[in-house]
């Protein structure tokens, strides 16, 4: 692998042990994956923030690296943590856990990392440009940045993303290279895909089938109308569920995503997949529960528009279930300025930031049944938090929150 003189010095320890260790990680990954050189990254997003995932070992490691002098050289953001940094007490999250979580964040802060704690940095102004090289690690953010924004990042692990931030570089392999961004599967969707939940369930099903592959979606009229598909919510749900059900880091949607119209974007040996129904996906992710004691919206983190929609829906109503809308702290601030947070809280709901139900110790809330509009959340909640799940649209979930039981006015479309 070719290294510049400066990079060789970093690897030799001229900039201290912390930089040396980071360069060792970045160059080892380069050797393993056959990179020819390193590439400068524009920003880094670090997963491995929740104490629930890191544990004591992760905390020890981060403290030690910070103590050795690890400092980031490019804008670096964090994935959600295990607690809302400001209102964890009000949310009944355990104190010991919160304490350890704060220690994790202190170590990251010492390295110069922004305490953004979100899986949707692109919703709070950190929007990479077309072709920008990144080292992001949260799976849904990686899929969204690659596919919808046209940026270039591999699915980094927590320590490898951090190493890239400390070096300002990552190894040039995988999705940093144009030739590796061509579709491996053509997906023809033959059933209607309309709501955000449909997009999530579709993503889950496609993820299960393609694994690490790169799907190219043909959006042909009746089933999937590109005109009415939201490049925001719908593709966010699709990306998140594909990355969870499989390990999809990049997908293309005909006529919608920036690389979909490039010449030879589909590999000649691409396999064809046809999705005739979402019923099996719904059956795998959703159970016909009646009592609902927890309603979770915001996986990935809710946008300002979603917070507005929730606030409008809840005007003049009270919720009976525990209602969490998870979002970035920055988005929460903007919603507060618009009065939407107050409206949601007035109805008895919580606008939770910095964390989400996948990484918070939700089991400590004493809830058993959850309604959500996120296929990704439905995929993780049973194993991570021991919850039973019912999937529905935002409106259906909010109905359930108000009534404390499932009482939808509409049925899933497909």
């Amino acid at each position: 692998m070719r290294l510049t003189r400066h990079e060789k010095q970093m690897l030799a320890g001229k900039e201290g042990p912390a930089v040396q260790k980071a360069m060792e990680i970045v160059t080892a990954l380069g050797r393993i994956y056959g990179a020819t050189d390193l590439v400068h990254v524009e920003s880094v997003q670090v997963a491995g923030v929740s104490y629930k995932n890191l544990g004591e070992a992760g905390l020890l490691f981060l403290r030690e690296w910070a103590r050795e002098g690890a400092r980031v050289r490019v804008p670096t953001m964090l994935n959600p943590a295990g607690v809302d940094l400001e209102q964890w007490r009000a949310l009944d999250l355990p104190e010991e856990f919160a304490q350890r979580q704060m220690e994790v964040l202190d170590a990251y802060a010492q390295m110069g990392i922004e305490m953004t704690c979100t899986c949707t940095p692109y919703l709070i102004g950190r929007v990479p440009g077309l072709g920008a090289h990144l080292a992001w690690s949260e799976s849904s953010a990686v899929a969204f940045a690659n596919s919808v924004l046209g940026a270039r990042t591999n699915r980094e692990g927590g320590p490898s993303a951090l190493a890239a931030a400390i070096c300002g570089r990552t190894a040039r392999y995988g999705l940093h290279l144009t030739e590796n961004r061509r579709a491996t599967h053509i997906v023809r969707v033959a059933c209607p895909v309309r709501t955000e939940v449909d997009f999530g369930v579709l993503g889950y099903e496609v993820g299960r089938r393609v694994g690490k592959g790169i799907p190219y979606f043909v959006a042909d009229g009746a089933a999937w109308n590109a005109e009415t598909t939201s490049a925001g919510l719908h593709l966010r749900m699709l990306a998140a569920a594909m990355a969870a059900g499989g390990a999809v880091a990049l997908f293309h949607v005909q006529g919608m995503t920036p690389e979909s119209e490039l010449d030879e974007i589909v590999r000649p040996d691409a396999e064809e997949i046809r999705i005739d129904s979402l019923a099996e996906g719904y059956a795998r992710l959703s159970s016909p529960l009646e009592p609902i004691d927890f309603v979770s919206i915001g996986c990935p983190h809710a946008s300002l528009e979603e917070l507005r929609d929730v606030a409008r829906y809840l005007a003049g109503r009270r919720v009976r279930s525990v209602l969490w809308i998870t979002t970035a702290r920055e988005t929460r601030r903007r919603a507060e300025a618009a009065g939407w947070v107050q409206a949601i809280e007035h109805a008895g709901g919580h606008v939770v930031s910095d964390t989400c139900l996948v990484v918070a110790p939700v089991e400590a809330l004493g809830v058993k049944t959850m309604a959500t509009n996120s296929a990704k959340a439905a995929f993780y909640a049973p194993s991570h938090s021991g919850l039973q799940v019912r999937l529905g649209t935002l409106g259906e979930c909010l109905d359930a929150a108000v009534q404390g039981r499932w009482a939808p006015r509409r049925r899933p479309t497909c």
Binding site: A28, L29, A57, G157, G158
Partner: protein
């Protein structure tokens, strides 16, 4: 027997080989408190990786596995060295942050549990230790 591989983490160590024909996932696969392999159905289940030259084809599972290796090293329960056929990011990063000498690109079929193994940079030296019923010593 001398085998040449590719350095993942530079270093020199000497110890007894523990060979797994199957990939190892450290998160959920190895108990971070004891170093014992706990994955159901794993060929090394019940054996400790502590102080061994751990030989396996490749890593698998969650990226949090890198931190499990770090935690084992912190408690003195990590493998002395790691040899892979083809390494991947999780174990490689774990070895680097835990200072465990590691080599990949090795034909691991040449190594058996109980062999005396030395890792020195990119070189792996294997000495078969004569044991009852296992035939003559082979160099």
């Amino acid at each position: 027997m001398r085998l040449r591989g590719r350095i993942i983490k530079e270093g020199a160590v000497h110890g007894e080989a523990l060979v797994s024909p199957e990939p190892i996932g450290f998160l959920g696969g190895v108990d971070p408190e004891t170093g014992v392999v706990v994955e159901a159905g794993h060929p090394l289940r019940g054996q400790s990786v502590a102080g061994k030259i751990l030989v396996f084809p490749t890593g698998k599972g969650s990226t949090v596995g890198s931190y499990v290796l770090y935690r084992l090293a912190y408690k003195g329960l990590a493998p002395l060295g790691i040899i892979n056929a083809a390494s991947e990011a999780i174990v490689a990063v774990g070895a680097i942050i835990s200072n465990i000498p590691m080599v990949d690109g090795i034909d691991i079929g040449q190594i058996r549990t109980g062999d005396e193994v030395t890792i020195e940079g990119e070189w792996v030296t294997v000495r078969r230790v004569a044991r009852t019923g296992q035939g003559a010593e082979a160099e």
